[in-house]
Amino acid sequence: MADAQHLRGISRRKAILTGAGLVAAGAVAGATGGLVTTRLAEGGSLGAPDGNPKVPVMVHLRDARAGEFDVFFGNTKVTVVDTNFAAKLVKAADAADSDSSSAEAPSDSK
């Protein structure tokens, strides 16, 4: 499933650029959380808590310009900076925004 389809429901590119919208950021994380988790694990700085791969990890793009992600897992939050990945997400969101004429409508991304 294309990212653009996952991201249907994100209303405005501006919201992501400012990093102001948790809803928008949550949708981004829902679409790409696996990728971020993999990157973190590969980096060795942050494995899944207790070694449990099923523990959900949630990523919030808090500041797109600075590439700052809040990464939530277990009872913890850490901040990760990755400007390149942030830029990819913004680009994907922008594509989704222009791809959908009814972005405000409730959407089931299945």
């Binding site: 949550g26 959900p56 990890v57 939530f72 009872n75 913890t76 939050k77």
Partner: protein, 465 residues
């Protein structure tokens, strides 16, 4: 209400909505303190098939400050998990529930209680402790009292715990209070905004009479809570007084997962509900700051002190009851701060104002339920607590039967201002203002033993005739 639905955001999240906090030296075990934090407000007993329960995704805590800094030195955490025996029925129970392990009970809740000490160790006091079911009716829960009793668990060392449904013990005439502050006994004195047909004076109506609540109750030795484990009879010893409050927290992220068709939460817990003194957030903090207040720690409550110093209700009373509160009106117009309320709610009452009493915790302004543990339970308690000459009652802690609505209304009306200004003469009405509801208006009596709140009303026979 005391704190039921007191702020816009938490009113939409009942399982995390604290309703009342009680803290008192246990009358039947005076070497212990009983701490009660109630949640899930306004439960209609017949509210099935998904009856009320604690939130598995909520972290419930009871905090103790024992050195006056407005921060917890001791904390008790409660975390709940729900087990479903049979997901292929809509029924809460498939037959009578006559024991906590009954196979007929389909949806059971368990909890873990943990004690944390600042700078010290974390101790799990109990794991997988059972909650009782909700009180459904004579077929489903034929001997509810036995179920509730079985859910009282001994934690060892003179400690015990109960978590589950009980009868709402907070009595109040909600309908009158929220109809533009019109206590029924005083209705004839209300200015009524010129509306021609309005109710005449009459007795109060207890709006919570038939309702239940979910209770977290813990009874522990006094020495578990006080600084240095102090236990004694010197009322003026600064170690005698503890400050109590409850919080509920939720993890910062909640995901509605369309692939798993459920929700999950992750990340650090963020406080979404807080309560110590009844009605503090409800009627003192203005609407625009209530949600913020719920997220804050008591040690930062100085920022809310201005609302205590000039409370809105004190301004309303002379306006709504013309000519009834002239001295309060003059006090309001003088611009003087309500030093009495600042002490009662934010610092505790210092030594020297009330003979034989103090519960001062220092200069840090913090909304805490302050309990002087050196004051023994009263042999003849007054529901009006300190105002009734009963040093063991609110605002020295709070017992389940204390009439906190009357006490706070009377204090705000000026009765307690005379403690800090001997020249002030309270209005005659100030010591009588009341919503007209007392424990006599309860349907279910209090218990004289732990957990002190009554057996919940059952759904089959409630509302009663």
């Amino acid at each position: 209400m005391s704190s039921h639905r007191e702020a816009p955001e938490i009113s939409k999240d009942p399982v995390a909505d604290s309703t009342d906090v009680y803290a008192f030296v246990s009358p039947d075990k005076p070497d212990t303190v009983t701490l009660i934090a109630n949640y899930v407000p306004l439960q209609s007993p017949a509210g099935g098939p998904n009856f009320y329960e604690f939130g598995d995704d909520v972290l419930y805590s009871i905090h103790i400050d024992n050195d006056g800094d407005g921060k917890a030195e001791v904390r008790y955490d409660f975390r709940f998990t729900t087990d479903v025996r049979n997901p292929n029925t809509f029924l809460y129970n498939t037959g009578p529930i006559q024991a906590l392990d009954s196979p007929n009970w389909n949806r059971r809740q368990f909890y873990t209680v943990t004690r944390l000490v600042r700078g010290g160790r974390t101790q799990t006091l109990g794991r997988r402790l059972p909650c009782p079911p909700c009180n459904i009716g004579p077929l489903s829960t034929p001997n509810y009292a036995a179920l509730a009793s079985a859910a009282i668990r001994d934690l060892g060392g003179n400690r015990r715990v109960f978590c589950g449904q009980l009868a709402e013990g907070f009595y109040v005439d909600l309908g009158a209070v929220f109809d533009l502050l019109n206590p029924r006994p005083f209705a004839d004195l209300h200015m009524k905004f010129g509306l021609p047909s309005t109710p005449k004076s009459g007795p109060g109506v207890n709006a919570t009479k038939d309702l239940n609540v979910h209770t977290i109750a813990l009874q522990v030795p006094i020495s578990d809570l006080t600084r240095d484990g102090w236990v004694g009879s010197n009322v003026n010893d600064p170690r005698a007084t503890i400050g109590v409050w409850t919080t509920a927290g939720r993890q910062r992220v909640r995901m509605f997962d369309t692939q798993l068709n459920n929700t999950w939460s992750t990340g650090p817990y963020r406080q979404v509900s807080r309560l110590a003194n009844p009605l503090f957030n409800e009627v003192i903090v203005p609407m625009g700051q209530k949600d913020f207040w719920n997220t804050q720690s008591p040690d930062g409550d100085a920022r809310f002190a201005k609302f205590v110093a000039k409370p809105e209700v004190a301004q309303l009373l002379p306006a709504l009851f013309p000519g009834v509160f002239p001295n309060l009106d003059a006090l309001n117009k003088s611009g003087k701060e309500r030093a009495d309320l600042l002490a009662i709610l934010l610092t505790g009452i210092p030594e020297g104002l009330i003979p034989g009493f103090q519960n001062y915790t220092g200069k840090v302004q913090a909304d805490l339920m302050r309990l002087n543990t050196a004051i023994k339970p009263s042999a003849k308690p007054s529901i009006y607590g300190l105002l009734g000459g009963d040093l063991a009652g609110f605002p020295n802690g709070r017992r389940v039967f204390d009439d906190v609505v009357a006490i706070e209304l009377r204090a705000v009306a000026g009765v307690t201002y005379a403690l800090v200004d001997k020249t002030f003469k309270p209005d005659a009405a100030a010591s009588q203002v009341d919503d007209g509801v007392t424990p006599d208006n309860l349907k279910i009596p209090y218990l004289n033993r732990f957990p002190y709140l009554g057996t919940p009303s059952d759904g089959f026979s409630t509302p009663s005739k």
